[in-house]
């Protein structure tokens, strides 16, 4: 979870090692099934992308190629990693399209992306991502470009597929509602750093970082009217990020130490980590159905 520029997408792209140039991974480790992906060569990464780790993007209109039929785009993925016969790939494509809820897959597979609506395009993108049955799926704002009723359909589909295929799902989003509905654990990012990690219910009920608490209080909810609190100021420029804790210029609890050195993540509870010098002095309000 994070706002624009918090580094959510770049984190996902880094795991796949497809950070666009001139970006590069400076240091760190990415352990996937106990292997450090950063030590792998491009050739060793290739079979991991798609068949082990896949990704779907925010805007299905730009992640599908407008020049190729849906069938071709799915076949490309299948053929890139394994040799399958014509009949086999045809059967698989039909199966995938019906799996993601596209009616008449035999007919629709011969159509171009522009013949699909936004929600249907996102389903095609999901089918393509799932073609090789990955064990980990990054969904980068998968419903931001969709209408609410279509968003609900796609979220339900993702949840359903996650269960059926037994894969892990990473939702990348700024929508606190989607996180509450879809996730079991949350990593809160701000301006390129991780500030809090917790179980979803715990995070919403007992946020420990001031940013998390302010964000929860600033989001309107549909089931009741509430007083919206304001996070003063703006998201910092990452070319010259604030010193120390990057949230300190907007934080009313900040002390001198916050501007001097960045706080590190520490465990504050079971499965609950926070990076804040002040957490133990604060009682922050969360967002629960109890008023």
């Amino acid at each position: 979870m994070g706002e624009s520029g918090s580094g959510k997408t770049v984190t996902a792209l880094s795991v796949l090692k497809i950070v666009p140039k001139p970006g590069r991974i400076v240091q760190g480790k990415i352990l996937f099934k106990d292997q450090d992906l950063l030590l792998k060569s491009e050739k060793e990464m290739q079979p991991i992308r798609g068949s082990e780790i896949a990704m779907i993007f925010q805007d299905p209109s730009s992640s599908l190629n407008p020049l190729y039929k849906v069938e071709t785009q799915l076949k490309d993925v299948l053929l890139a990693h394994q040799s399958v016969s014509k009949e086999e790939s045809h059967r698989k494509i039909v199966e995938l399209l019906s799996l993601v809820g596209i009616p008449d897959p035999e007919i629709r597979m011969r159509e171009f992306p522009h013949q699909f609506s936004g929600g249907m395009k996102q389903r095609v993108a999901i089918a393509r991502a799932l073609a090789l049955q990955p064990t980990l799926l990054f969904a980068d704002e998968p419903t931001t470009a969709l209408d609410v009723t279509i968003q609900a359909q796609v979220l339900e589909l993702l949840e359903d597929l996650k269960r059926k295929m037994g894969m892990s799902l990473v939702m990348i989003t700024h929508d606190m509602g989607v996180i509450a509905k879809m996730t079991t654990r949350v990593v809160v990012m701000y301006a390129g750093n991780v500030y809090e990690i917790a179980k979803t219910e715990d995070l919403y009920e007992h946020p420990r970082h001031p940013y998390t608490a302010l964000l929860l209080a600033a989001v309107p909810r549909l089931d009741r009217r509430k007083t919206l609190s304001i996070i003063p100021g703006n998201i910092p420029n990452l070319i010259e990020p604030p010193s120390g804790c990057r949230f300190h210029p907007r934080c009313k609890y900040a002390i001198d130490q916050c501007a001097e050195s960045p706080p590190t993540l520490e465990q504050v509870d079971t499965d609950h980590y926070v990076a804040c010098y002040r957490w133990s002095f604060l009682t922050l309000k969360g967002e629960t159905s109890r008023k």
Binding site: A152, Q153, H174, D175, G177
Partner: protein
């Protein structure tokens, strides 16, 4: 100057008279065939189809609906930015379509000063080559309602009103963040001292932490200046937060209209119910969301016969395909267009 919060504004909603009356408004857009040499009309997009509603003085009325339902077209027609196919819009007792047809330039300007618009994308709606001071004082130049020597002071006042500083006046739009730009757009809209503002998805392009700032600003402006707002959005949560009354649109028609709390707590139309159920609430203890609706919004070029919602409606009967339901008052202030409500 920063406003801290928006209080509940229920107390305002009862007594005020209608400021804007929209009556039987229709807007169709022609669709042409794609021939190279011939241009033949092959159909119409039923963007707005016979809708009626009122906006009271000092009220925030919201239109909600999914993309393509006609919310923005309705707003543009009300502001006379595009011509209606038929219907009436009465602003402060004057039929503005008739008025615009015959009015002199001065009279038109006077009408325009009453009504302003804030757009969705504050990156596209500010001229990048003008300073903030130029942008906000351009309405003064056009309408001439603020004398030259007072213009600079008035710009500062407006900047303060929307929570910006005096020194911002000499800067250019690219030096501001999205939220600040939206504040500039609001200041520009306020520069003509309007009575009515259309806010078309004013927060949907902003970051979550910034949205509350703008929502609170709009709410407070309405209270302090006494403006009427037409708030257009697909985001049902922000609509609940900011509006006093809501109209729900589907394929060019209003299907339900009621006071905000009444509509959210007691939705009667199956589409409204499905819409409300589809929005995830930022609270893991409320597992509300359900995708109740199958399929997608049909084309507004060939809308379904009868009730336009019937192909997706879980409660549709044969009756619904035969007859288009009218918007009737089913409870005081609660209007519904449905032949088989729950």
């Amino acid at each position: 100057m920063e406003f801290s919060n928006v209080e509940r504004r229920d107390e305002q909603k009862v007594t005020f008279e209608s400021f804007i009356q929209v009556r039987d408004l229709v807007k169709y857009f022609p669709v042409y065939s794609t021939g190279v040499l011939t241009k033949k009309q092959v159909g119409v997009v039923h963007a707005v189809d016979h809708i009626s509603f009122d906006i009271k003085k000092q009220e925030t009325f919201a239109l909600v609906g999914e993309s393509g339902c006609g919310k923005t077209t309705t707003a543009r027609v009300i502001l006379n930015l595009i011509e209606p196919t038929s219907g009436e819009v009465i602003v402060d007792g004057e039929n503005i379509f008739e008025k615009f047809a015959v009015a002199s330039k001065e009279e038109k300007m006077k009408l325009r000063r009453k009504m302003q618009m804030i757009f969705q994308n504050p990156y596209g709606s500010l001229d990048p080559r003008m300073t903030v001071s130029d942008i906000i004082s351009e309405p003064f130049v056009i309408h001439g309602h603020v004398p030259k020597e007072k213009r600079a002071d008035r710009v500062y006042e407006l900047l303060e009103l929307v929570g910006l500083e005096e020194y911002h006046a000499e800067r250019y739009p690219h030096e501001f963040s999205g939220g600040q730009r939206q504040r500039i757009c609001i200041a520009r809209a306020l520069a003509v001292e309007p009575e009515f503002i259309v806010a078309d998805e004013p927060v949907s392009s902003l970051d979550v932490s910034i949205r509350a700032q703008i929502l609170n600003l709009l709410g407070n402006l309405q209270k302090t200046i006494g403006l009427s707002f037409l708030y257009i959005s697909h985001d049902l949560s922000s609509v609940r937060q900011i509006s006093q009354r809501v109209g729900v649109m589907y394929l060019g028609e209003i299907v339900e209209l009621a006071d905000t709390d009444e509509l959210y707590d007691n939705p009667l139309h199956p589409y409204t119910q499905a819409l409300i159920e589809a929005v995830p609430i930022p609270d893991p203890q409320v597992k509300n969301i359900r995708a109740r609706l199958r399929g997608e919004v049909p084309s507004p070029i060939t809308p379904p016969a009868g009730c336009r919602f019937n192909p997706r409606c879980p409660r549709a009967t044969a009756y619904c395909t035969g007859r288009e339901p009218e918007l009737n008052e089913v409870k005081k202030g609660h209007f519904l267009a449905c032949s088989s409500p729950s």
